[in-house]
């Protein structure tokens, strides 16, 4: 009898000995920042700048996702869908975009925490009169080396057209938007445009793995694969209208493969600037280089 009692006691304490505290289930908090931002009900002409400032707290749990969607005259476009892990300090983020030609745009800003609870904010923006397409910069020829190239720099700041080598990039990591490499994919060696934040980049450029700021540039791979931008339009672009409408965030990635000679690549930088790259030349060996013509918003 005592033996049974002893075994029973052991089992009871093993099962109930540790009281699990209830986890906090407070949903995230999200709020608009005050300041020089686009307000609810604003009328913005096509091409006009939209800036939404948002801040969020995880509600006691880490923030794990930010999703921004634009519903333009009923058509939903996912502008940002980014996995995050923010355990301290919360999220402080400015969303930069350009007003499209839709009469009404409803913007949703959603954050999710590790408990998969979410919070959402909404802004509605209407189409203003006229247009506000802005000026662009044009860099006619920029040569970047592939990963094993020792002749040309590897890292490009598309805002200035400045190029940086493995050495000169020190201290300038936060302004790098574009880099290139070659790798075997789909059975062929692919000249590829990528960005510092893309996961596989440190495999080609180990120093990037140590950067504290790794920008994300998104490339519209669908426009590249299907040659959606023609060369005449690219040549004629004197404002940012074509740059904005050519980029579809639904088919965008931080890595754009098959950037062969003659391809035109719409992109958007981390700070929301739209642009296009025409590939003048692309080698298919790691020792090669790419020659790029770039048009980008000022």
């Amino acid at each position: 009898m005592n033996r049974i009692l002893a075994i029973f006691t052991i089992v009871i304490f093993i099962v109930t000995g540790c009281k699990k505290e209830e986890e906090s289930k407070t949903p995230p908090l999200i709020n608009f920042k005050l300041g020089e931002y686009t307000n609810d009900g604003d009328y913005i002409p096509a091409g006009g700048k939209l800036v939404f400032g948002i801040a969020a707290s995880g509600g006691g749990s880490p923030i794990t996702n930010l999703r921004v969607q634009r519903i333009a005259d009923g058509v939903t476009i996912t502008e940002i869908d980014r996995g995050l892990y923010i355990a301290e300090g919360g999220l402080d983020y400015d969303v930069n975009a350009v007003k499209l030609g839709a009469d009404q745009e409803i913007w949703h800003f959603m954050v999710m925490n590790a408990n998969r609870d979410s919070a959402i904010l909404t802004r509605t923006v209407y189409l203003g009169e006229g247009s506000a397409y802005g000026p662009i910069k044009h860099f006619e020829s920029l040569k970047i080396g592939m990963q094993n190239n020792s002749e040309f720099p590897h890292f490009l700041d598309v805002n200035t057209g400045d190029l940086y080598t493995n050495e000169s990039v020190a201290g300038n990591e936060a302004i790098i938007d574009v880099l290139g490499f070659v790798y075997l994919t789909g059975g062929i060696m692919s000249p590829t445009l990528s960005c510092p934040q893309y996961t596989s980049v440190p495999g080609h450029y180990p120093i990037v793995g140590g950067w504290s700021v790794r920008n994300s540039t998104l490339y519209d791979y669908n426009a590249v694969d299907n040659d959606l931008v023609n060369h005449q339009d690219f040549d004629n672009a004197t404002n940012d209208s074509l740059l904005v409408v050519s980029f579809n965030p639904q088919s965008a990635s931080g890595n754009c493969k098959y950037c062969f000679t003659g391809k035109i690549v719409p992109f958007r930088t981390e700070d929301g600037k739209y642009g296009m790259i025409r590939v003048i030349h692309a080698d298919q060996v790691p020792e090669g280089y790419m020659e790029l013509e770039v048009k980008v918003q000022e």
Partner: protein, 190 residues
């Protein structure tokens, strides 16, 4: 003998499970709590330095005027009751003595507003010091009626911005009305 051994083993296991078996959680972050007394409260100081996270008496505060951001006072008139204000708010005929804020040469102005968006007590409790969202709850577009937070009640939530642009959000946890009363609140800073 065998039964006795099993019983002893059970007792030993009980204690080991009780004292060492549970995984310890991370320690709770320290809360910022301020208990500010009104003008004739002799138990608690009435002057808070947000940067120092410390409460001072009127005499102590007089000596470190540039560090004082928030004070507590009671005034039934105008519905102020137990209220928070700042040295720069211009509270007069409330405090007495040479060290009264009216006589200070440095009078920091802290501004108070209700939150720009609804925030519950549970929401407040889930916030952490340093969260970016804290700043967004301060209504920077409010330009009047923002020099004091009046008639404080338990679970009221207010926001503030100090002269050195530290943003805060506070939750009232305890109040006693009267010139000898006090207000206690928890605050979180950005």
């Amino acid at each position: 003998m065998k039964t006795k051994f099993l019983s002893l083993a059970a007792i030993a296991l009980f204690f080991s499970v009780s004292f060492a078996g549970c995984k310890k959680d991370d320690p709770e972050p320290t809360k910022n709590i301020a208990k500010l007394g009104a003008q004739i409260n002799t138990s608690f100081g009435g002057f808070l330095s947000v940067s120092e996270k410390k409460v001072y008496t009127q005499e102590q505060a007089f000596l470190i005027q540039d560090q004082i951001d928030i004070l507590c006072f009671y005034e039934a008139e105008g519905g102020n009751n137990i209220a928070l204000a700042a040295p720069g708010t211009g509270i007069s005929d409330i405090f007495i003595g040479d060290s009264s804020p009216e006589n200070w040469t440095t009078k920091n102005q802290t501004y108070f507003t209700l939150p720009t968006a609804e925030i519950t007590v549970a929401d407040f409790d889930a916030l952490k010091d340093g969260d970016a969202i804290i700043e967004t709850y301060f209504n920077a577009e409010q330009t009047s009626g923002n020099r004091k937070a009046k008639d404080m009640k338990v679970n009221d939530i207010w926001t503030f911005k100090t002269a050195s642009s530290t943003f805060g959000i506070l939750k009232v946890t305890s109040v006693e009305q009267g010139e000898a009363g006090y207000v206690e609140f928890e605050y979180k800073l950005k």
